[in-house]
């Protein structure tokens, strides 16, 4: 217990410095890849098979103006987590900005033992959303999450998002709807891409009936394991999209 002043001498300084040097100069380097030198890796299933198994079902609006172009599955190197990078032809709000594809993200976390889905998350306009009902629905329907895709902007909403009470997405969706109705009156950056606008009611705006299976777009060469996948994505699609956060905890 230190209840009185401790004389600080040179010897003590030297011991502390030596101890610190010994602490930080000995030992094996951390971060060594043990997968590389493992004699046996348990539960290593084929990545393409897993990417197809947990691929989301996209529920889109019946009057959605843009189609899905590509879906790339990216496995996290350390966690049982798959990022589905979904690319659409364009974004209604940002058409003509010079980037051809609209880039959206859905994550599926799975159990490597049971090969069941354990969580489903989406990146909705820079906010990560998850709902319990989306997960339970996925478990009941072949381990595949059902994701609602917002008209024009393609913001992915996990099924059951209506139970979320935060400002995002609930309040902001109404604002998006207002903009979507009058977007064709806004000045456009490019005349090559005519503006599209939404003409239905707000309830109609939130009705997603067209099913698109993301697995149909995932080929074996579209699956990769990487923490940073931007280079791979650009090698597949070129510089045609805006990069987004790659993992939910970034």
């Amino acid at each position: 217990m230190f209840c009185s002043a401790v004389p600080m001498r040179r010897g003590v300084h030297a011991i502390v410095a030596l101890f610190a040097c010994a602490t930080i100069s000995c030992g094996r380097p951390a971060g060594e890849s043990f997968s590389a030198r493992a004699d046996y890796i348990d539960g290593a299933a084929d990545r393409h098979t897993l990417a197809l198994r947990f691929a989301p079902i996209l529920s889109m609006h019946s009057s959605e103006p843009y189609h899905v172009v590509a879906v790339i599955g990216v496995f996290h190197p350390l966690k049982p987590l798959i990022a589905y990078h979904i690319f659409f032809e364009d974004d209604a709000f940002l058409a003509g900005r010079g980037k051809a594809f609209d880039h959206e993200l859905v994550w599926a976390e799975y159990d490597p033992v049971t090969l069941k889905i354990t969580d489903a998350l989406t990146l909705w306009h820079r906010t990560v959303l998850r709902t319990e009902s989306c997960l339970m629905d996925a478990k009941a329907s072949g381990q595949r999450p059902n994701i609602d895709i917002q008209w024009g902007q393609h913001g992915p909403l996990p099924s059951g998002w209506r139970s979320l009470l935060t400002a995002r997405p609930r309040l902001e969706l109404a604002m998006h709807y207002r903009v979507a109705r009058y977007i064709n009156r806004l000045p456009r950056a490019s005349a090559k891409k005519p503006a599209v606008s939404f003409s239905g009611s707000y309830d109609d705006y939130l009705t997603f009936t067209e099913k698109v299976d993301a697995a149909d777009y995932i080929h074996a060469e579209d699956v990769v394991t990487a923490e940073h996948s931007l280079e791979f994505l650009r090698s597949r699609l070129g510089m045609t999209f805006l990069p987004k956060k790659e993992w939910p905890d970034w």
Binding site: M1, F2, S4, A5, V6, M8, G11, I15, L18, A20, A22, T23, I24, C26, G27, R28, P29, A30, G31, E32, F34, S35, R37, A38, D39, Y40, I41, D42, G43, A44, A45, D46, T49, L78, K79, D111, P112, V113, T114, L115, K116, T118, T127, E132, M136, D137, K139, A140, Q143, L164, L165, T166, A167, R168, H228, L230, P243, K245, E246, W250
Partner: protein, 778 residues
């Protein structure tokens, strides 16, 4: 004191230090040899292996390979490892007929990860069983002692894939299996952070966070298909033998219970007599009736786990509803078949043998109740699979916790029944603070589907932590307590207290909070008396030396994921029974409103990792003529954390604040002490204006030491502060800045010790030494 001690004590430190460092380098950080020569007493050569579990943990294993057809997988007890004497004993005595395969559980010794005390360790054994299976052993026998026995037991129940199970003193560290005192002590040592430091240093065992794990509470489901021998001493201190007897009363002939006299536990029971029992048990094992596997280990050279061939005659078609992708099943079947032949029909592979392997494949994924039937027995075989689904999940026993809350934790139902998934769900639920224990009961319907009944036993949830604070210059020694309580309705209470040992002064914070509509409502209060050491964490804190009682009601609204606004009202009363000249207090009551905006964020990943958190704080006292004091307070806090590398970080903070000049003395800012300018005593600088900046460099030993090293949690923090407080009538001047610089060693965020010096032209006093122990050091 004996002469030998005198001699030891007289050795100079210059002699000890190099020896100590040499010991560190030679022992702690030595990389184990890949293989060991045959020992003089006849044990076969050992081969060290690294296996990666399904959840990505690298564990160290050791194989005593005597080229036998059968293997015994030995699972050590808690806090032990492959270096135990019993492993050598088994290797010397059993390798005439069995290879010995042993391993360090996760978090133990040189295996990576953190231990969950028998929870996730089943994945370690699963990896070892898979590895042994792919080496082509004819029979795989699991032998576990203590926690290893419990893990073996649960693995047999959840994953199968073993031919026999031998359990010695299965300790579960639960109130049901351990005597009260032992269970309580073990639980507190293993479940609270207090035990993590000594266990890490002394036993090289890394305890994980119990919130992500749980304990194997229910050992009652002894696997029926697997022959089991349980060896238990009569007066085991760690295991309640009555519990073991009760378990065995419900078993048929699949289990054998051997009670031996004495008090020995776990590996201490492994001696010549036990060995004789084990040999007798193994000799009496019935052979597999169909599809007996025959080892072809002599031919099984080459990399393990890669299918070398799959006979054209082995064409299997799957029919029915399968919980696993067909390609996964056939891939694993190919791997298994490539290292084995099956007796009876080694040329064409009998369909029964294929079914046997398929059953093991489904079991290793937790689908233990999948039934298989051969539809077409001519190649290609058609095997129809049928896996029961979970129809309903019922919850009983809960009085306070609502069903919805429990369902949101377990998250099962709607799909195929899986024993591993159910086990994880139960452990997840068991680790909730309001849950004492959970038991499951699975009932099969007529159509084969399952109904699950979860019986929940609730408890009063609380968390209690202890910390200490010692500083030398102001002669303060204090003990800190933290108390966390969660009401079943999710009403949270957090209390923090710092009590001075010598002067009996105290400082306490109390917060009552509840989340509503994804926002937080909170009511907080502060009580203190004559506190000598202040911890004004937010710098807006009364500095009076006598009594304060009051409360605050605040609501935090999360606008976006990283932006929130807190609105609140406060009221308090200040009394002044003792007033010292340097600590004036103005009596009276005050009330007001507060607002805080909290912003946080980080740069995109492609930039250097920089995360920030900024808060803007505004307090207005006395609106509507409430209270005796009227003043405004503004405060801005900016903080940023820059990742210099994978393990090193740089922390920068800037704070500033001002008050209207009419604020009474007790509401003025005070700087100094452990949380602001540690180089100066508490309340060194007082005024209604303040500015403070700090910079810290956190260097982690993890960058150079292995994760499994005892030293890896050690951090060296180099820091400096500069700040001052002044009155409104004065003006800010850099000449008035007080500065300090120091260093701190931190171990596992529990143990802290540091020294800090006042520096600059205005330095006052002498270096301060401080030490703290506990999860938080107030």
């Amino acid at each position: 004191m004996c002469p030998r001690s005198v001699k030891v004590m007289s050795i100079k430190i210059s002699t000890i230090l190099p020896t100590f460092l040499a010991f560190l380098c030679a022992g702690e950080f030595a990389i184990p040899a890949a293989a060991h020569a045959m020992s003089a007493d006849g044990a076969p050569a050992a081969r060290d292996l690294v296996l990666q579990t399904a959840d990505g943990i690298a564990i160290d294993a050791r194989l005593y390979d005597a080229n036998n057809d059968d293997v015994i997988v030995y699972c050590h007890r808690l806090l032990s490892g492959t270096e135990g004497g019993e492993v050598d004993f088994l290797a010397r005595t059993l390798t005439d007929r069995y290879d010995i395969l042993t391993f360090n559980f996760r978090g133990h010794k040189s295996s990576f990860g953190t231990t969950t005390v028998g929870g996730d360790e089943i994945l370690d054994l699963r990896a070892v069983l898979s590895f042994a299976g792919l080496r082509g052993y004819r029979r795989i026998i699991v032998l576990g002692a203590g926690m290893g026995g419990t893990v073996g037991w649960r693995t047999a129940e959840i994953f199968g894939n073993m031919d026999a199970l031998i359990v010695i003193s299965p300790s579960g560290f639960s109130p049901e299996t351990a005597p009260f005192i032992i269970g309580l002590a073990s639980n507190k040592m293993l479940t609270t952070p207090l035990g993590r430091v000594p266990l890490r240093i002394i036993t090289k065992t890394r305890l994980g966070l119990m919130s992500s794990a749980g304990f194997p509470l229910d050992l009652a489901g002894l696997p029926e298909r697997i022959p089991t021998l349980v060896i238990q001493s009569e007066k085991d201190r760690f295991v309640d033998i009555r519990r073991i007897r009760i378990i065995f009363e419900g078993l048929g002939e699949s289990g054998t219970l051997a009670i031996v006299p004495g008090r020995k536990h776990a590996e201490d029971l492994i001696d010549r007599d036990t060995l004789a029992r084990i040999r007798a048990f193994l000799d009496g094992l019935p052979p597999r009736e169909e599809g007996m596997r025959v080892s072809r280990r002599g031919d099984a050279a080459g990399p393990i786990g890669s299918p070398r061939y799959m006979s054209d005659t082995l064409r299997v078609a799957l029919a029915g509803d399968s919980p696993l992708p067909e390609s996964v099943i056939l891939d694993e079947l190919g791997k298994r078949m490539s290292v084995r032949i099956l007796a009876g029909d080694s040329a064409a592979y009998s369909p029964q043998a294929v079914v046997l392997e398929l059953r093991d494949i489904f079991s290793i994924h937790g689908y233990t109740r999948t039934s298989l039937a051969v539809v077409d027995s001519l190649p290609p075989f058609t095997v129809k699979t049928s896996t029961p689904r979970i129809r309903t999940v019922s919850i009983t026993g809960n009085r306070r916790l609502p069903d919805e809350y429990i369902r949101s934790v377990v998250l099962i139902g709607g799909d195929y029944y899986n024993a591993y998934e159910l086990d994880r769900a139960i452990r997840r639920l068991s680790s909730q603070p309001a849950i004492q224990s959970v038991k499951s009961h699975v009932t099969a319907r007529d159509d084969g589907d399952m109904d699950i009944l979860l019986t929940v036993t609730e408890r009063r949830p609380y968390g209690f932590l202890l910390s200490t604070k010692f500083t030398d210059i102001d002669d303060f020694a204090g003990i800190g307590f933290t108390w966390n309580e969660v009401n079943p309705t999710a009403l949270r209470y957090e209390g923090r207290a710092l009590i001075g040992v010598s002067e009996h002064d105290f400082l306490t914070f109390h917060t009552l909070a509840k989340d509503l509509f994804q926002n937080t409502l909170c009511l907080s209060a502060t009580l203190f008396d004559n506190i000598s050491s202040r911890d004004d964490l937010d710098y807006i804190f009364s500095r009076q030396e006598v009594h304060e009682i009051g409360g605050e009601l605040a609501a935090r609204y999360r606008l976006f994921s990283r932006t929130s606004v807190t609105l609140g009202a406060f009221g308090k009363k200040s009394e002044s029974s003792e007033v010292s000249l340097d600590m004036p207090v103005t009596e009276g009551s005050s009330g007001g409103v507060r607002c805080m905006i909290d912003l946080s964020g980080s740069l995109p990943r492609r930039f250097p990792r920089f995360a920030w958190r900024h808060t803007f704080y505004y307090e207005k006292s006395g609106p509507f003529k409430f209270g005796d004091f009227f003043f405004d307070t503004y405060q801005l806090n900016l903080s940023g954390e820059l990742k210099l590398s994978r393990n090193h970080t740089s922390l920068t903070t800037i704070h500033g604040g001002r008050q209207s000049s009419s604020a009474p003395p007790q509401y003025e800012f005070s700087l100094g002490g452990m949380t602001t300018l540690p180089g100066y005593p508490d309340d060194s600088f007082i005024g209604n204006r303040f500015a403070l900046a700090s910079q810290a460099l956190c260097l982690s030993a993890r960058s150079v030491a292995s994760e499994t090293s005892v030293w890896s949690p050690l951090r060296l923090i180099l820091y400096g502060h500069a700040g001052t407080a002044w009155e409104a009538a004065q003006s800010f001047s850099l000449d008035n800045l007080r500065m300090d610089a120091g260093f701190e060693f931190e171990y596992m965020e529990i143990l802290r010790a540091g020294c800090v010096w006042p520096v600059g032209n205005l330095r006052e006093g002498s270096p301060r030494v401080y030490i703290g122990w506990g999860v938080h050091v107030l």
